[in-house]
Amino acid sequence: MHEVYTYSNASPSRITPEGTLADLRVAVQPNLAVRGWPCEAGSRALSGYTALQDATVVARLVKAGAVLSGSSRMAELGFGLAGDTSARTLVDGHADVALITDTMGEVRLAAAGSGLFGLKPTHGLVSRHGLAGLVPSMESIGLAAADPRMIAEILAVMAGADPDDPSMPDDCTAGFSAAPPSGTESLTAGVIEESLSSLDPEERLAFDAGTACLETAGVTIQTVNLADYGLFKDVHHLIAAVEASSSAGKFDGVRYGHRSAVGKNWNDMYLNTRAESFGPLLKPFLFQGAYFQFERYLAFENACRLRCRLVRAVDDLLGKVDILVLPTRRPASDPAQAATIQATYAVFALTLPASVTGHPALQVPNPGVAADRDTGLQLIGRRLDDGRLLAIGQHLSSAAREGR
């Protein structure tokens, strides 16, 4: 228990025992504010920091009757999954749903590693108020669970307009309905040819077995092309690093968190505090962001332009097919393997596209292979089509159960 949680709720009590989420146990990461709980986000920069108020999603879940079981361990400020125990809370039976911030694919890969469903909702559908984040334009509070219906129900409570997060786009304020959308039959799914090039033959076989199951379930599979597919990684890396550098600028030891004991004046205090606050993975990432921000601003602007181009390209594909299907690769369980930025990006290579474009993406356990095999399926939908993805996931999982 101690290994899994950084804080565990000793007195779980429900405010609304008959709410729609009554008795549902939810694990959070310590970057999500729960009033009175430590909110250190896996970083020394926030050491000793306790949340003053509930994040909007936390308040909504508790009001709907959910019980917070505790907060798990996480990688520093949610960059990657090194040391993350979110999925373990589910596997070990401590929680029914885990909220996992997805910036480069964390909720999807955490789910992929544990045979679970993991949804990164449409960016902007869920309030970020109370999320001690790092990359505002890419991160979403994701949901992992064994049952896609449970994800839909909890997303319906979490989503929708929040006066404390005016950054939510207008089309997101109506929220999300847990009822599955009609017309899930006779769908077309596009497989991006360029996304398969990194798979080895065994992985390719597993992926094909997965798409075959989709066909069996009535989904027409079609190969599509995305010439710019190779740009996702660099665009994500550059923009995420710049945003991270900006948003980590607040960690200065002046108001909260770690403050260095050494230094002759405020400037020394400032520099030493920041030097001591960030870990060996995040620090170079912040340096990279600062470098592009200060020295190569035009490269950053170009990356932003390319990002718009990538959003349009994915939207165009989703005009021809109903969903896109990409493979996922289970992350190595050894956190040391993700100790460099390069290695981290390699692990998340397959999940970066939806983080760059903001489209909803659902990790689905591959019904075509044994549960402990590596290659999973990732369904990407149109903006705000999160419900359709969950319905397809549900359909696949019941078909797989019946087939067994």
Binding site: N31, H129, P136, P166, G249, K250, W266, F294, F300
Partner: protein, 475 residues
């Protein structure tokens, strides 16, 4: 060689919105330290900025008053630099997409002609916290007061159209008058609610093109703006004549020594679009609503005062310079008082009295009714001018009724011929030699005798009656 100065001003104006720019904290930087703070303006993790509608409206009103075009879409950027006065590590400002562009104000140039000075753009931004560096024993300590952090500012960036200190001072005055009219800002250089940074460069007279500029900060009065620019023009001219190159840097005006001195270079960071504040999208209908709230501006009001009330250009300009005073004037005139006389009293008596007190009309006990009553009593010769001046002071300072003040002060003027006859006879008897002098043909003595008689009445004699009596008695 003669040089011509090229001057551009960057002016920060504090908006007087009730709250800060991105949270609901009171916009009162002067309160006890760190009283007006919340998770948003302290930028605690998980906070998100919420743009104040009131601040936005006041900013737009200010931009319209300065003849700017409001942009259909504007957006916030993060101006990155690391200093403890910035809780976010960046300042939210509008760099790439400002709120408004292409404005102007008119000034009267040194040659007396009208000169139009262009405004490049106006953007919204948040102010930073206040730092106090002290020592505790021998240890340097730095204290931060976040009350000011996040309070709303607009920055008005001019085109480099100014050529002289006169231009710059008139520009600041004109801009301040327009902004005060909108009610969006107080605009006091002395209190720091209007801060002027001047960019000054020189070029050979008659040439075009812009040379390396020097920025001057820290001028806390209009006169300091003029003096600092004048000093900087002389300093740069001397540099050029000695063959020293001008390097881009920032200088601080020292009001004690009356010189500018270089300040340590501040790190200028990049501006990255902020992903969390939604862009400001302005619709025509919304903008028309704000435009409808724009008051009649000073230039138009001045013209109307000349036409409607027959004021001279000087009087009209004085009566329209400040919105509260112009409204005071019109309201007094509406109570059937002669406009020019009212304007004269406001200029010669009321404005100096307010200046002595360092108060606005609203901070005194004077109302338009009380002021109109005073002028009316004067018109009806119940009191004389001397008494009216003294009564005005009391009307400003105490809530007592006009009648009561006149009664208690014994200000009612002596007009009864009988009383004044006795008084005049006494004075003439006391000054027999002067009377003889007058009768021998020295008319100047009349003024002296008049003064003595007025003194004998303790200043309350009706001067007209008194003069007539004196003339009659002296034959």
């Amino acid at each position: 060689m003669t040089y011509e100065a090229v001057i551009g001003l960057e002016i920060h104006v504090q908006l007087n919105a009730a709250t800060k720019l991105f949270c609901d904290c009171p916009n009162r930087p002067g309160d006890a330290p760190n009283r007006n703070v919340c998770p948003v303006c302290l930028w605690l993790p998980g906070s998100l900025p919420r743009l104040s509608q009131e601040a936005l409206e006041k900013a737009v009103l200010a931009c319209l008053a300065l003849n700017c075009t409001i942009q259909n879409e504007s957006a916030f950027d993060q101006k990155v630099y690391y200093y403890p006065d910035l809780p976010k590590g960046y300042q939210l400002s509008q760099h790439h997409k400002p709120l408004a562009r292409n404005g102007w104000v008119d000034i009267v140039g040194a040659d007396g002609g009208l000169k139009r000075l262009r405004i490049h753009h106006i953007h919204l931004e948040e102010d930073v916290a206040k730092l106090v560096h002290e020592t505790e024993g021998r240890t340097p300590i730095s204290l931060v007061d976040f009350n000011r952090a996040g309070t709303p500012l607009i920055e008005i960036v001019s085109e480099p159209d100014m050529r002289t200190p006169h231009d710059a001072m008139e520009y600041v005055k004109a801009l301040r008058a327009q902004l005060r009219y909108t009610g969006s800002a107080e605009c006091s250089l002395e209190q720091g609610t209007l801060r002027v940074d001047a960019n000054i460069s020189l070029r050979p007279a008659g040439t075009e093109g812009l040379n390396t500029k020097v920025e001057v900060k820290n001028m806390n009065s209009i006169h300091n703006v003029g003096d600092a620019i004048a000093y900087e023009i002389v300093r740069q001219t001397e540099c050029l004549e000695k063959g020293e190159p001008i390097v881009l840097h920032t200088r601080l005006w020292d009001p004690e020594r009356r010189v500018t001195a270089p300040m340590r270079a501040k790190f200028e960071g990049p501006c990255v679009p902020d992903p969390s504040v939604a862009p400001i999208v302005v619709t025509d209908a919304w903008l028309e609503g704000i435009r409808g709230r724009l008051p009649e501006m000073p230039a138009r009001k001045s013209a109307r005062f000349m036409e409607t009330y027959g004021l001279t250009p000087d009087e009209a300009a004085a009566m329209s310079a400040e919105r509260d005073l112009s409204e005071f004037f019109e309201s007094v005139v509406a109570q059937d008082l002669p406009p020019r006389k009212t304007a004269g009293w406001i200029v010669s008596q009321l404005i100096p009295a307010l200046r002595d007190r360092n108060q606005g009309i609203g901070q005194t006990h004077l109302t338009t009714e009380r002021f109109a009553g005073l002028l009316d009593t004067l018109e009806k010769e119940i009191i004389n001018t001397q008494s009216a001046r003294e009564i005005l002071v009391q009307l400003l300072d105490s809530p007592a009724a006009l009648e009561e003040i006149i009664q208690n002060g014994g200000f009612r003027q002596l007009s009864a011929t009988g009383d004044l006859e006795t008084l005049v006879d006494g004075v003439l008897a006391d000054h027999a030699a002067d009377v003889a002098d007058y009768r021998n043909g020295n008319p100047k003595v009349l003024g002296f005798l008049m003064g003595q008689a007025m003194k004998a009445s303790q200043g309350k004699a009706n001067p007209k009656v008194l003069k007539a009596l004196l003339a009659e008695r002296l034959g």
